[in-house]
């Protein structure tokens, strides 16, 4: 099957070309965040604080990896269920986040926000954390270390396989 290589940060031009069902290989930096990190980010936004990373054009990967064993940059690192982040997502998209990697469907509010802010939602294979870890070539914890596996990490991806699940026109692989 055809694979489309894409680079982060995502540009509108890249996003416009992506259609639900496309297989992509993601290259470049992405940021991890799950439930607890989202909650903290939203609190910081509401308090007008400076965020740990610039949201503009970035991809958030919903993952809480296992610890890196000796000699590896990261442990198992597959996606978690995206719908748990649904209530936080529209605000993050309004502030410039352009992509998300996770698993499972999204709420109608998130789909609307994806269209409105020209973003994209990628599906990675859940339970394939060992395979996906081979496509992460560096990992650095940048915020919320107290959250353990839920801290925010900056990951460098190389040909990370994913599927365009919801595209910027609202095309949806789940419907």
């Amino acid at each position: 099957m055809k694979r489309i290589k894409i680079e982060t940060p995502l540009t509108d031009e890249t996003i416009e070309k992506l259609k639900a069902g496309d297989i992509v290989l993601i290259n470049g930096y992405v940021y991890t965040a799950r439930d607890a990190a989202h909650k903290k980010l939203i609190e910081m936004i509401n308090n007008g604080e400076l965020l740990p990373f610039d949201l503009k054009g970035q991809i958030i990967y919903y993952v809480g990896p296992t610890p890196a064993p000796p000699g590896k940059v990261i442990g198992s690192a597959g996606p978690t269920t995206s719908s748990r982040m649904d209530s936080y997502t529209p605000l993050l998209l309004s502030l410039g986040v352009k992509g998300m990697i996770g698993k499972g469907g999204r709420s109608s509010e998130v789909i609307e926000a994806i269209k409105k802010y020209k973003a994209v939602y990628f599906l990675a294979t859940g339970g394939a954390g060992a395979l996906l870890s081979r496509h992460i070539i560096s990992a650095e914890e940048i915020a919320f270390s107290e959250l353990g596996p839920e801290s925010i990490k900056k990951l460098l991806l190389k040909d990370f396989p994913a599927i365009v699940a919801i595209d910027s026109q609202g095309g949806n692989i789940f419907s």
């Binding site: 198992s76 269920t81 954390g129 395979l131 599927i163 699940a165």
Partner: protein, 280 residues
């Protein structure tokens, strides 16, 4: 009486957990290979990643899934076994703690469900279900259970008048609501009868049965087949993107229940159906 040592429990639990995190039982692997053969397009691509993932996990000794679960442990404790070193649960937790440390597993437990939600940092406490059995052995079955599929599980107290149709509808409704969230292809464990908590335990035990092995009672075996067919016609498919394989198997366990009750529990298990057992 036969004595068993704290150290034996600790080492057994540790080894089971570390092995379960990086390797799938053969029956699960075979079922996934069969699913791969019958899928097409992106669904096939996803299954090929799932199959490749098993090889990589085993080669690199990296957990199959980053959600190395809550450690759920079923213990069949022989009545002729003597334990003289305090609370046996403490030994089970120590085994989990060591596995998490030495196997680089994820700490996924928070101490308080509502208020603090502070990570305990060592994935304890584990969940232990004890059962007394005859004999002088201790059998330990350890099943790491991820939250993605556990969160999609459900329990309902039906009215006896709802009968077979009520049970079927509830199972199908639960799988439908779960969609792609629990990482299909899934194994559907159904516990019918008993009472509120008994049905949930039965559902969890049903998940641990060898994939596709039918219930010994022909009526329940037939129901398992019918539910599996119906679930695989829902077109949820691998990771929820459509396809013929939403479930690898439906396993039902049942027990006698109250004249006024019909409890049904559905425990959903993701394709990373990890479990290992050993005897001390």
């Amino acid at each position: 009486m036969r004595k068993i040592k704290r150290e034996d429990i600790i080492n057994t639990v540790k080894n089971l957990y570390m092995e379960a995190a990086v390797s799938l039982p053969n029956d699960v692997c075979e079922a996934l290979l069969k699913a791969y053969e019958r899928e097409e397009g992106i669904s096939k691509e996803i299954l090929s990643q799932i199959i490749e993932n098993q090889k990589i996990a085993w080669e690199d000794k990296i957990p199959l899934c980053q959600d190395t679960g809550l450690a759920v442990i079923f213990v069949e404790w022989g009545v002729e076994v003597l334990y003289e070193e305090g609370d046996p649960i403490e030994a089970f937790n120590e085994g989990v703690r060591l596995a998490v440390k030495e196997g680089y597993l994820r700490a996924s437990v928070v101490d308080d469900p509502i208020f603090e939600r502070k990570n305990t940092k060592d994935n304890t406490p584990c969940i232990v279900h004890f059962e007394l059995v005859k004999g002088n052995k201790v059998k330990i079955i350890l099943a790491p259970k991820g939250a993605g599929s556990e969160n999609m599980s459900a329990l309902r107290m039906l009215k006896p008048a709802q009968g077979l149709k009520g049970v079927k509808d509830f199972v199908i409704e639960t799988v439908k609501n779960a969609g792609g969230n629990p990482c299909p292809p899934i194994i559907v464990g159904v516990g019918v009868g008993g009472n509120f908590e008994k049905s949930a335990i039965l559902a969890k035990k049903a998940v641990l049965r060898k994939v596709g092995q039918p219930n010994k009672n022909p009526a329940y075996a037939k129901l398992e087949r019918e539910l599996l067919d119906e679930i695989n016609r829902l077109n949820i498919g691998p990771m929820g993107i459509g396809g013929n394989t939403t479930a690898l198997a439906v396993h039902i366990e049942y027990a006698p229940c109250h004249i006024a009750s019909l409890p049904v529990a559905v425990n959903i298990q993701c394709h990373s159906a990890r479990h290992k057992e050993a005897e001390i």
